[in-house]
């Protein structure tokens, strides 16, 4: 690929201007994340579908070149830096022609910047199909003449005007002149006045907001119907995560087992086979199983976002969440966390405010994720009688499960409430100003692609870390006695060391080792414990392991303590790895890991003593 000599065309625009859709149109599937030295944001890059000598770079959407949040600052710096270092040939500024005034405020900032760095620029006025639908027009020629740069009316959705855009890009070689007018005003409002005047002269005239939007809003934000539809939609979301993803998850698991059955006999018996079976197929397999869930969740949340509903859900949840130091936009990431923390952490990207996103990260690992489910099932089966009360209406086991789920959510909200009140706000925070996009039918292709990319990102980036930790745990559990007994391994020895830690909660070293190994992934707890109780395939056989636990005389207090410990502790390498990726440092994951471990331990200790006191 002649990338070095390719003309580099930057796309820049505000969120919701249709930039992603245009980028997808222009580049098709040939996308990858561009790497610029010193630039930390993800800039997607892609070759033009009809001209391989053109490379498009998609800069993150920003509302303004005068950045307000840390995130925006990074994006704006990436753009100016690329201009400074002469990495770009032409800049395309995308504006929404149905909201020309707002788009022009931004475009004028871009124009000034391009003038300063001597880069040709053109404006792509998107969404003209919407104008057509309302039989409205605007005057791109007039605008182009006034601004002295090309203005191309396009529709990223229908493809209208894209060939003209390509021609204009090929011809663009003159940097814009400084925009002058006879308006005299203070620096701050001059752009605004210019934009207002330009939109007045050349913009579409008339009322674009269709009444259906207002009507749908008064339904979805109605005190009764809004609340009801909110719960129905959330219920469907959960259904999709658990029911749509689980057959695929089963398939992935089966495929890994099949592969193991084919590959393992080929490897000469000994350390290599044991490594392949325990660490590669067991360890890596355990994390690949999450991929379908990430895919489905990203897809469904993307659908909600594209349809415009997500913005309404954020409005509904804003007030209650604000009490706990969060924002309405924290809702979806936290909700996703109930399935799995990892897609939840990815979803937190939509929280623009750096501080609120950070608080959201604190909450997500405490949400009752599905990896805790096997552990809860085991312990509840061992301790809570299966009989029902109130004539069969209330099952004690179900009640216990509900309580432990609730505990996780309450802990999450408590943590953010306390932390947000006790730590001062250092940086400027974004206020809650949320654009309400029109209700639209989602476009499928970009959504599927996005879900696919997210999965790829998870497998390639987080996968490396997970692999390394898996290998370390395996080595500790396998040597020096070559997997003969876990008790004699280094992991076993460590279990004996840490026994004093777990003894106050009434747990012996085997539980200590199981807890240790569960720091890799929570569900490993059941498997490790099962191995140690000498039961094959503990995952399939909950009741009998539960029976064993019962017979071993573990006190009720210890069972309750285990539940509480698992509800709070951050025992998940994948979560830590993804947090590191998303925040760009190990600081937050390490802090969270340590503080939640201590929190979990103290809570477990308290619960143990309370239960033993009263039981």
């Amino acid at each position: 690929m002649p990338v070095a000599s390719a003309a580099k065309i930057a796309l820049i625009g505000s969120p919701n201007s249709g930039k992603s859709l245009l980028f997808n149109r222009l580049t098709g599937l040939n996308q990858k994340v561009a790497n610029f030295p010193g630039i930390t944001v993800d800039i997607a890059s892609g070759q033009s579908i009809d001209d391989s000598s053109i490379q498009y770079l998609d800069f993150p959407g920003v509302y303004s070149l005068q950045a307000l949040s840390g995130e925006e600052l990074v994006a704006v710096e990436a753009f100016t830096r690329a201009l400074e270092e002469d990495l770009l040939d032409t800049v395309i500024c995308i504006v929404d022609s149905t909201r020309l005034e707002k788009g022009l405020i931004f475009a004028l900032q871009v124009l000034e910047t391009c003038h300063r760095y001597n880069k040709p620029m053109l404006i792509a006025a998107n969404m003209v199909d919407v104008l057509d639908q309302h039989s409205m027009q605007f005057d791109p020629q007039g605008l182009a003449e006034t601004l002295k740069i090309p203005v191309l009316p396009i529709s990223a959705r229908t493809g209208l005007g894209l060939s003209e855009l390509a021609e204009a890009i090929a011809k663009a070689n003159v940097p814009p002149q400084k925009f002058e007018s006879d308006i005299i005003a203070s620096d701050e409002s001059i752009n605004h006045l210019h934009a207002q005047q330009l939109a007045e002269q050349h913009g579409p005239k008339g009322d674009l907001l269709i009444n259906t939007q207002t009507r749908l809003d008064s339904f979805f934000l109605h005190s009764w119907f809004g609340g009801l539809s909110f719960f129905v939609i959330m219920y469907l979301l959960f259904q999709s995560i658990f029911t749509w993803a689980s057959p695929v998850m089963d398939a992935v698991e089966a495929a890994i087992q099949w592969l193991a059955a084919v590959v393992l006999p080929i490897i000469p018996a000994g350390v290599a086979t044991d490594f392949a079976s325990d660490a590669i197929f067991g360890g890596i397999g355990a994390f690949l199983v999450f991929v379908p869930q990430i895919f489905v969740l990203t897809l469904v949340v993307g659908m909600l976002e594209d349809s415009g509903y997500l913005a309404r859900a954020a409005v509904i949840c804003h007030k209650p969440l604000r009490f706990f130091g969060l924002t309405g936009k924290s809702f979806i990431p936290m909700l996703s966390g109930v399935a799995c923390a990892i897609p939840g952490i990815y979803a937190a990207r939509t929280v623009e405010s750096t501080r609120k996103r950070w608080l959201t990260y604190l909450a997500i690992p405490l949400m009752p994720c599905s990896a805790r489910l096997p552990v809860y099932t085991l312990i509840i089966a061992a301790f809570i009688p299966a009989n029902k009360a109130l004539g069969g209406l209330v099952g004690w086991q179900g009640l216990a499960m509900f309580a432990i789920y609730l505990l996780g959510i309450v802990c999450a909200l408590m943590v953010t409430a306390i932390v947000s009140r006790s730590s001062a706000e250092l940086r400027t925070d974004l206020p809650f100003v949320l654009e309400m996009p029109p209700y639209r039918l989602p476009s499928w292709k970009p959504l599927l692609r996005n879900a696919w990319n997210r999965c790829k990102h998870f497998v390639t980036k987080a996968g490396k870390v997970i692999f390394m930790v898996t290998v370390v745990i395996w080595i500790l559990g396998y040597f020096p006695n070559y997997g003969e007994s876990l008790g004699g391994s280094w992991l076993g020895t460590m279990g004996q060391w840490i026994e004093p830690i777990f003894e106050p909660i009434g747990l012996d070293w085997r539980y200590g080792v199981a807890i240790l190994s569960s720091f890799l992934a929570r569900e490993v707890f059941v498997g490790t414990l099962g191995t140690m109780f000498g039961i094959e395939g503990a995952e399939e056989n909950f009741t009998s392991l539960a029976q064993q636990i019962q017979d071993s005389g573990l006190p009720l207090g210890s069972g309750a303590a285990l539940l509480v410990f698992f509800a709070i502790a951050l025992q998940c390498v994948s979560t830590l790895a993804v947090l590191q990726r998303e925040t760009g440092s190990w600081r937050l994951p390490v802090q969270l890991f340590i503080s939640y471990s201590i929190f979990a331990y103290v809570a477990a200790l308290t619960v143990f003593n309370l239960v033993e006191l009263f039981a």
């Binding site: 701050e188 907001l209 934000l221 400027t428």
Partner: protein
């Protein structure tokens, strides 16, 4: 009167920002269209103190009380 006091269906002109507004907020609100002189209407005011929906030009924004009460309207 502030923007937050605007009832559903009513509209008004932005007159100024409260003096205690952070300058970053003021700039951003201006860029979004909440600019002195601009007509704003409150399209929806949900119950229970949820953020209200305001329309400026052809765009609808949702603002919560903490920010809407920093904008003076007349």
């Amino acid at each position: 009167m502030t923007l937050w006091d605007l009832t559903q269906g009513a509209s008004a002109k932005v007159s100024s920002f409260k003096s205690n507004i952070q300058s970053g907020y003021r700039t951003r609100l201006s860029e979004l269209g909440f600019h002195p002189g601009e007509h704003i209407s409150c399209v929806l005011s949900p119950s229970l103190g949820a953020p209200k929906l305001y329309r400026v030009n052809n765009t609808v924004y949702s603002l919560d009380d903490s920010i809407a009460s920093l904008i003076e309207v007349a």
